[in-house]
């Protein structure tokens, strides 16, 4: 039993180390622009994973996910800009390990976002489908307008000068600011994936799936569907808030317009493309959706002087819906696909 418990930490550890290796390569051989895009990719992965819990696994339909990212981003940025908040020095850790403060900011951002998620989750108890969708959209518009009019966080001008971690000296090694931020981002990416994966592959997670499949049958089997739905919103919003925090400290600048309906649609595109209910699909699609506009469409735009980005985006989306409605992976994971290619048994058979 205990050995299984230890073994269960092996793959996340490998994933984390793997991401660090990639980070070192990025740090050494790529410019700041590419590095920034990689950090954005991390936020997008977290956003897609977390939205998949609500839309893909629980079968609810949120089209305002960006608002939770916005809340996390602004809370985190505000805390980092105002260390004297609460009347005490909020930077809990000395400079040498000041990056730990960024974990605290992220958790705070996530918690406030989770509280907002709880508020949005409440109407989902009474509203179904399209009505719920429009409430999530309405909520995100309300928050956006409030941010636009709150001078304490820059209002419509935006919030400038958000700090990012300093370089970190570890004995003879010095981690560049990028690498410090990237380590934090990787940590959150792996943690998000881990938490959601373990949730889904447990008794508690199957309750989410049952709500998606048939709410009335789920209730008849003793599932508290209202609790499940609110939980999905809260957990999902927490991670969206964390993603916002990473975004804030990577970009160093926030503007309410970043978190509009378009951003929410971006995330929806990711989970639809990757497959609703597939975590690894979300990761792949998030990478694709981040890199396509930056590394393919931007050069194209510079060449033609026309901004095709969103046009190509939207056509891709419609074509996908018409031609491959279940996304790249459907509800399967990469590991299932690899296994079925090798003709082995499916993931569920390992007592996850």
């Amino acid at each position: 039993m205990t050995s299984r418990m230890l073994k269960s930490w092996l793959s996340p550890l490998i994933a984390f180390v793997g991401m660090l290796v990639i980070g070192v390569v990025l740090d050494q051989f790529f410019n700041q622009y590419v590095q920034l895009i990689i950090l954005f990719a991390c936020t997008n992965i977290i956003l897609a994973l977390s939205l998949n819990l609500v839309n893909g696994f629980t079968g609810q339909f949120s089209i305002g996910h960006a608002v939770f990212m916005a809340i996390g981003a602004y809370v985190s940025a505000y805390l980092s800009l105002r260390p004297e908040i609460f009347g005490v020095k909020f930077t809990m850790f000395p400079e040498a390990i000041d990056y730990l403060n960024y974990l605290v900011y992220a958790v705070c951002g996530g918690l406030v976002a989770a509280a907002a998620g709880w508020v949005v989750g409440l109407p989902s108890l009474r509203l179904r489908g399209d009505y719920l969708a429009i409430v999530t959209l309405g909520f995100s518009e309300i928050i956006r307008v409030i941010l636009l009019n709150t001078q304490a966080v820059g209002g419509a001008r935006g919030l400038f000068g958000i700090p990012r971690p300093d370089a970190l000296a570890l004995g003879p090694l010095t981690l560049s600011p990028f690498l410090v931020m990237y380590v934090l981002a990787s940590f959150w990416v792996v943690l998000t994936f881990l938490v959601l994966w373990r949730l889904i592959h447990s008794v508690h997670g199957r309750a989410f799936l049952s709500v998606r499949e048939d709410e009335i049958a789920a209730q008849a089997m003793g599932i508290n569907t209202t609790q499940v739905k609110v939980r999905a919103f809260v957990i999902s919003s927490f991670f969206a808030g964390v993603a916002g925090s990473i975004f804030a400290h990577s970009a160093n600048y926030l503007n309410p317009s970043t978190f509009g309906f378009t951003k929410s649609v971006d995330v929806i595109i990711m989970i639809v493309l990757g497959g609703m209910g597939s975590l690894s699909g979300s990761v792949v699609a998030a990478l694709f959706i981040t890199f396509l506009p930056e590394f393919v469409l931007r050069p194209l735009q510079e060449y033609t002087h026309i901004d095709f980005r969103m046009v190509i985006y939207s056509i891709t989306l419609v074509l996908f819906m018409v031609l491959r409605p279940k996304g790249l992976f459907g509800s399967r994971e990469i590991s299932d696909i690899a296994r079925s290619l090798r003709g082995e048994r499916s993931a569920d058979e390992r007592a996850s």
């Binding site: 339909f61 509203l127 009505y131 429009i134 518009e141 307008v145 378009t262 929806i268 901004d307 018409v322």
Partner: protein, 304 residues
């Protein structure tokens, strides 16, 4: 009359004018929803195209500096035809292939079409705002104790009233209207009764899109700055109006539109214009909290 009452009356008139335009657009949302159970996100872009059709129509027909009733009617009809054609095209190319797919897929497709039109619009029309042509002169027709009734307001009332009466006759009094109601009640049964559901759906898009064009022309007259993203927020609020009244319900859309317009005008007039849009959504959330199916919508219970 005292200053306050005067000001209030003016806001009331503006609010009803704005509200009736919302109602026109909301009708398009609600009709499509009633028949396909689909939030037609692209409807707001059909509305945007309606404004640009009028803009370019005025140029092509040489009607730029000739305001008058005939100019107004000609360009209105032109915009309606363009939008109706666009609506049919969207339905054929994007929605029809997904007729039997999960509703979520159709919804995402609708979002995709909406984005496509927005950004194609930015490339084709340019992202900067354009000035909407003057279709009729805006003049004070009458004045009662300082409250002026302007020709724009009269045009907006008159035109919306005309189209609403026409629509209700169409739905209640004609054969195709009956077919629309039948398909909306139950598409499968309607098909079995020999109704060509696809034809009815196409017709619904024609009517809804044409109404969006009417809304666009009226808005263009009152707020003469148009751009490719003009539809997003306005369309969203019109949709909110439809949900407010109970989506799928035609009188509901009109009621919702009027509430929306009045509230917005009052918020701008008495509270703050910056919170205008936030307020619209707050009302929606509040109303849905107490009436989950909207004001005039009927709550349905799933058959177990």
């Amino acid at each position: 009359m005292s200053e306050e009452i005067l000001e209030f009356t003016q806001h009331l008139i503006n609010g009803i004018a704005l509200g009736s335009i919302y109602a026109l657009i909301a009708l398009g949302y609600t009709m499509v929803y009633g028949i396909l159970q689909l939030i037609n996100f692209a409807h707001s872009e059909v509305y945007m195209i309606g404004a640009f059709a009028t803009y370019y129509g005025a140029r092509w027909f040489g009607l730029l500096d000739r305001p008058g009733i005939s100019t107004f009617v000609l360009l209105l009809v032109f915009a309606m035809i363009c939008c109706a054609a666009l609506g049919v095209l969207i339905e054929r190319l994007a929605y029809r292939p997904l007729r039997n797919a999960p509703r979520l897929n159709a919804l995402i497709t609708a979002i995709g079409v909406s984005l496509f039109l927005q950004y194609t619009g930015q490339i084709v029309f340019g992202a900067d705002p354009k000035v909407f042509p003057t279709l009729i002169e805006d003049a004070a027709l009458a004045s009662f104790h300082g409250v002026s009734i302007r020709s724009f307001d009269v045009a907006i009332f008159g035109v919306t009233l005309f189209f609403m009466i026409a629509l209700s006759y169409l739905i209640q009094g004609t054969k195709i209207g009956k077919a629309m109601r039948a398909v909306s009640a139950n598409r499968t049964v309607a098909s079995l009764m020999g109704i060509d559901a696809n034809r009815v759906i196409t017709f619904t898009f024609v009517v809804g899109s044409a109404l969006a064009a009417v809304g666009a022309v009226l808005v263009g007259m009152k707020y003469p700055k148009i751009d490719p993203l003009m539809g997003t927020l306005f369309g969203l609020k019109a949709f909110v109006a439809a949900v407010l009244g109970g989506i799928g319900n035609l009188p509901g859309a009109v009621v919702g539109g009027l509430i929306m317009g009045l509230c917005e005008e009052m918020v701008v007039g008495y509270i703050s214009s910056t919170y205008r849009d936030a307020f619209a959504f707050s009302i929606l959330i509040l109303i849905l909290f107490f009436r989950p199916a909207g004001l005039l919508g009927k709550a349905t219970q799933e058959k177990v």
